[in-house]
């Protein structure tokens, strides 16, 4: 996210430091601190407080209501022995793997296409971003219809003459994840494309000229020179996609509700069902703690790269 701002940050800090040495420094600093109070309260109080609350209660045997009778890691042992949880982790891994790769590849390809200065770029950009501006619920429903065997793609292809054509992903446990994947990519690509486009536009034209002088082909220039140069952009995109994947909930609920069977269950749905349907809060807390840990594993290295490294440099 700080892809473009990085260079600007130190300058601004110096400037404001110079400004802060003016006489009313103390007053301004005090006001500035006061101005931050609501924000700090919200981000620390609410987010940290609630997260810690959830983690603490994941070590209890809470059933219908949260109670503080600690049972150690019992909920976690049970969680990792639950077939449904294991299945949803596996589903998330498959869905996540393909979703990550395809969104990056498609997003970058579209951005490269757009970078060629096509006519009507603004309109194109808006249309590609439209799916992202829709609610997951709408996306899920739209794709539920398109993939519906009775009047969706399968039906259209069959009515065009290819009667043996079979494409019914949402009712087939073997391929249901790919049905959801299509909808997910449809929704997510636009954002990644825009971020990639920003990265491509940030690359100096001289590099292209130099590559041309050296007789390097376009494809090779992209693969060997441009993409390595866009590493920070790729990392940011990766983090954004990954965080979205772990949270995936509405999309699956709207399309399949986790079915058929357990074939498209996701961790977030597992947590939700245990908290509201299963009357087993403790295990739901344990599952959501596992999700938080995963998010932290993804975020911390990124935060270190984006922010931590710069302080020393």
């Amino acid at each position: 996210m700080a892809v473009v701002d990085q260079s600007a940050a130190p300058v601004s800090a110096e400037r404001s430091a110079a400004r802060a040495r003016k006489p009313n420094k103390l007053f301004r600093n005090l006001t500035a601190k006061i101005a931050m109070i609501p924000l700090v309260f919200v981000s620390v109080g609410v987010f940290v407080g609630f997260t810690i609350w959830t983690i603490v209660y994941s070590f209890t045997s809470s059933k219908l209501l949260p109670k503080l009778n600690f049972v150690g890691f019992e909920q976690y042992t049970r969680l990792w022995a639950d077939r449904r949880w294991l299945q949803s982790i596996e589903n998330l891994a498959i869905f996540g793997f393909f979703s990550l790769i395809l969104t990056l590849v498609v997003g970058f390809t579209l951005a490269a296409l757009l970078d060629r200065k096509i006519r009507g770029e603004d309109v194109f950009r808006t249309i590609i971003l439209y799916p992202f501006a829709l609610s997951f619920i709408v996306t899920g429903l739209v794709w539920q219809w398109i993939l519906n065997p009775q009047f969706g793609i399968q039906h259209i292809v069959q009515s065009l003459g290819w009667t043996s054509f079979q494409f019914d992903p949402l009712n087939n446990p073997d391929i249901v994840l790919y049905g959801i994947l299509i909808a997910g990519i449809w929704q997510g690509t636009g954002l990644i494309m825009c971020i990639m486009l920003a990265g491509l536009r940030g690359i100096d034209d001289d590099i292209w000229k130099a590559a041309k002088v050296d007789g390097i082909g376009t494809l090779k220039t992209y693969l060997r020179i441009i993409i390595p140069m866009m590493r920070p952009v790729f990392i940011t995109s990766l983090v954004l996609i990954a965080a979205g994947i772990i949270k995936v909930y509405d999309l699956v609920v709207a399309q399949t509700s986790g079915g058929p069977g357990l074939a498209s269950q996701m961790p977030a749905m597992y947590v939700y069902d245990y908290m509201f349907g299963g009357q087993n809060l403790g295990q739901g807390f344990a599952a959501s703690t596992m999700m938080l840990v995963t998010v932290a594993i993804i975020l911390i290295p990124w935060a270190y790269l984006e922010f931590g490294g710069k302080k020393r440099g």
Binding site: F47, F50, I128, L292
Partner: protein, 276 residues
Amino acid sequence: MARAVTTRRKTLTTLAAWGIALLIFFPILWMILTSFKTEQDAVLSPPVWFWFDWTTENYVTVMDRANYFRFFMNSVIIAIGSTALGLLIAIPAAWSMAFVPGAKTKDLLMWMLSTKMMPGVAVLVPIYLIFIKLKLLDTHFGLIIVIMLINLPIIIWMLYTYFKEIPGEILEAARMDGATLRSEILYVLLPMAIPGIASTVLLNIILAWNEAFWTITLTTVDAAPLTKFISSFSSPQGLFYAKLSAASTMAIAPILIMGWFSQKQLVRGLTFGAVK
């Protein structure tokens, strides 16, 4: 971008891009077309594309039957309310971060953004319990607060990047002329940041409008917005295919229209200011 691109090649890439755009827009287009069909035409085999008897009867039915207007108003109230409340907290904070940064400012910004990536289910129960205790379930106020909390990181981040582009000297000049802090922010900073604030508002209205996880969990009837309305038609099975299309089209129409007229700001907002 003075890269040499031949005209023929340019035409080809343009054609390819538009083909892709059509493919991407197709699901939305199909939904809109279906919403104007009769239920019989909607499931016709082979499908009819444009040459059917256009009808608005689905829209009439949906509005009559489902009390669509109330859901719509709830969406409006929640989207505008949460954005306004968010701005109220975010403007002072973003001012402070942009013009009086401390040693921890970057860390705090980073922290704010990472909360945006947190899975909502992880904090669902504590929020739910507080809602029960304070009788906030199914109220506009409760939803406004929760949705504001969820989108606050983005509001702050966007305002921060916009504020940082404003030279501090201008604010300083105002201060030298004896402006109080309040008028410095209200009459100098805010008018200069209007384009930035506008796109922040826009993006937040869209995000709040689409928020499904929390609205579905925390509302039943009174404060339920459009996302809840659509999700209540969980399984169409061909019976209400055209009507559901009409309902969904109405739910996304404001977004599509707003998006069209503000594409530039939208792109910038959605990419956290990375694309200008």
